[in-house]
């Protein structure tokens, strides 16, 4: 152990950022674009998260939804579901308002190494699209580095779909396959109805060359993984982003442990092979 250096950063000290743009996506979810103060850059990777401070209300981990650009970024995008104190306060912000930011934290999707050159299958349940959108856009920005790109998307109802304009744009691309399903449709719904797992067998997967990236509600993983295994995919080629209760974001507070693993440090993105035997993981 060595003494703290006066110039060493305080890992709990947020840095201010300003809200540039915000938009309601659904009844409960809102989109935000923030910018760090001039001179401050975040260098983040897809799949990482930030600890967002609303002082007086608290702090909570939120995934970065934007794709990083080549250098560092001042700006970043979030999507926040209103569930409690911090998230409710965030929903009350207007452009020009400020927040505190710590991070980025956590292990990203290996978009730069393990994923390059492969077919990519993104499986997003509900809010799971939020971190995966960062990876999807990252890939689309470097489309030639990857093989086939398929995005499976599940939502509870059509009204719960996030980023509808962006989804429409993806739909129009011929270098990306987007398949959507909802649990409960309304009369205007033209795509699939039912659980997201049902979409998997319909894909013409090349299991050897495919890499899957998954994020969704806790109950989704087990069924999706079973289906992917059935399709012959190896646990080595599946990446999951997991959510846990989290306070510090830096591997101290203990809340996010999955058995012995810290979601904030070894995760939130895990290779399935690394956690297949970890009992609390899935």
């Amino acid at each position: 152990m060595t003494a703290p250096r006066p110039d060493e950063t305080d890992i709990y000290l947020p840095r201010p950022a300003t809200l540039i743009e915000t938009e309601s996506l659904t009844a409960h979810e809102r989109f935000f674009r923030f910018e760090m103060d001039a001179g401050v850059e975040l260098s983040y990777r897809p799949g990482q998260f930030l600890e967002i401070s609303m002082p007086g209300f608290g702090e909570c981990p939120i995934s970065i939804s934007s794709a990083p650009s080549a250098g560092g970024d001042r700006g970043f995008e979030l999507v926040v579901r209103r569930v409690g104190n911090v998230t409710r306060a965030l929903h009350g912000l207007e452009p020009g308002d400020r927040i505190g930011v710590r991070g980025p934290f956590g292990a990203p999707f290996p978009v730069e190494d393990a994923l390059t050159g492969h077919d990519l299958l993104f499986i997003c349940g509900g809010l799971g699209l939020v971190p995966l959108r960062s990876a999807i856009n990252y890939v689309l920005n470097r489309r030639d580095d990857y093989g086939e790109v398929t995005v499976l998307l599940g939502a509870r109802t059509p009204a719960d779909r996030l980023f509808t304009r962006e989804l429409y744009a993806w739909k129009l691309r011929d270098d990306l396959v987007l398949e959507e399903t909802v649990d409960a449709a309304d009369p205007s719904w033209g795509a699939h109805v039912g659980v997201i797992t049902k979409l998997i067998p319909r894909l013409k997967l090349a299991p050897e060359n495919t890499r899957a990236l998954i994020c969704g509600p806790p109950i989704m993983y087990r069924f999706v993984l079973k289906e992917l295994e059935k399709q012959g995919m190896s646990a080595e080629h599946i990446y999951l982003s997991l959510e846990r209760r989290m306070k510090c974001g830096v591997g101290k507070c203990g809340h996010c442990q999955i058995n012995g693993l810290y979601t904030c440090r070894q995760g939130p993105v895990f290779k399935y092979a690394d956690i297949a035997a970890v009992r609390e993981a899935i």
């Binding site: 400020r98 306070k247 507070c253 440090r265």
Partner: protein
């Protein structure tokens, strides 16, 4: 460094001199138990204590502390560090071992300046155990003495002849030696006498007997995830977290904000938390990743015997026995659980 031999009355004078010049915390009686508290009278120091209700970790990782102050209009945050130097008198070797574990936790990777500032400000005087507590098993865990351990600044040992061997082991420890300049130096006989105290403590601090080497625990637990003991014992568990909170190696915490009356400025607090508490792993939407008492009960033992080993190379139990007496349901004894796993492997 000079090791000195002093009698009880010189010890008293020395402590009085320390109190006069420094902020000193020492073990004192609390009702019919013991606790670390600010020391104002040398006579109040109880080096003969068996165990303190809370471990000395409270001086490095307090039950509640302010991490930051903020102003939500200006959106400014200011770190609050506590760096006032202090002396901690009477830490037992097993508690020192636990502090060394916390040192690892808070200095690996993301370094925690709040912890480190308090730690840096401390001069730790360890005292060899004079009275074994009813539940202690530090002897089984390898933490009955300071042999092979470090992190402290000075070691006091009461020898059988009633004198104390004062052994400064760091520059900070040596700085406390001033008033003892004229005390006689410890000779070989005294060091031998200390060895005897250590040998005796290794044998005596085994009120509960662990039937295996601590290093076998990770392997034992690896095969015990589905053992019936978790369900059986957790039936009586209150999920009260007492076993977490009194543990010298537990460090989990919560963060919380509080506003001042101006509703603009406030502070971010860090508070002890515990993995045995029901909401510890609950997330928005109501999902709880360890919803059942048995899930949480098992998690604690796995953290003690396996997970912390994997992350830091340490068994997160030093054998202080505090959780055993703190558990009102009498189900938190790690030795009982580990021995049973061994027997029913």
């Amino acid at each position: 460094m000079p090791q000195k031999l002093i009698d009880q009355s010189s010890l008293g004078h020395w402590v009085a001199a320390l109190i006069a010049e420094h902020k000193v915390y020492g073990v004192q009686a609390k009702a019919d138990r013991f606790a670390f508290d600010a020391l104002t009278e040398a006579d109040d120091l109880r080096l003969d204590h068996d165990v303190t209700i809370l471990p000395p970790k409270k001086y490095f990782h307090p039950p509640q502390e302010i991490l930051l102050q903020f102003d939500r209009e200006a959106m400014t945050f200011e770190s609050v560090f506590h760096a006032e130097p202090f002396i901690l008198l009477g830490v037992h070797p097993y508690d020192m071992a636990a502090i060394s574990q916390l040192d690892k936790v808070f200095s690996m990777d993301h370094r925690d300046r709040h912890y480190l500032a308090r730690r840096e400000a401390a001069t730790i005087v360890v005292c060899d155990v004079q009275t074994a507590s009813p539940e202690v098993f530090a002897g089984c865990m390898g933490h009955a003495t300071m042999e092979g351990q470090s992190g402290h600044d000075m070691l006091l040992t009461l020898l059988d002849d009633g004198r104390y061997l004062v052994d400064p082991v760091s520059a900070k420890g040596e700085a406390l030696m001033g008033p003892l300049a004229h005390a006689p130096e410890a000779d070989q006989a005294a060091l031998q006498a200390r060895k005897r105290v250590w040998d005796r403590n290794r044998r005596q601090l085994q009120k509960n007997k662990l039937k295996m080497k601590p290093s076998e625990l990770p392997g034992l637990l690896a095969g015990s995830y589905d053992h019936p003991v978790w369900e059986e014992r957790a039936e009586l568990c209150y999920s009260c977290g007492s076993c977490n909170l009194v543990c010298p190696t537990c460090y989990c915490f919560d963060l919380r904000d509080e506003l001042n009356w101006d509703l603009r400025t406030g502070r971010r607090l860090r508070e002890w938390d515990g993995c045995m508490l029901r909401g510890f792993a609950a997330v928005a939407g109501g999902h709880n990743f360890r919803a059942r008492r048995a899930d949480r009960y098992r998690h604690r033992y796995f953290r003690k015997g396996k997970y912390t080993w994997e992350a830091y190379g340490e068994i997160a139990c030093v054998g202080c026995g505090r959780c055993i007496s703190a558990c009102t349901a009498n189900i938190a004894n790690p030795v009982e659980v580990f021995n049973r796993l061994l027997e029913e492997r």
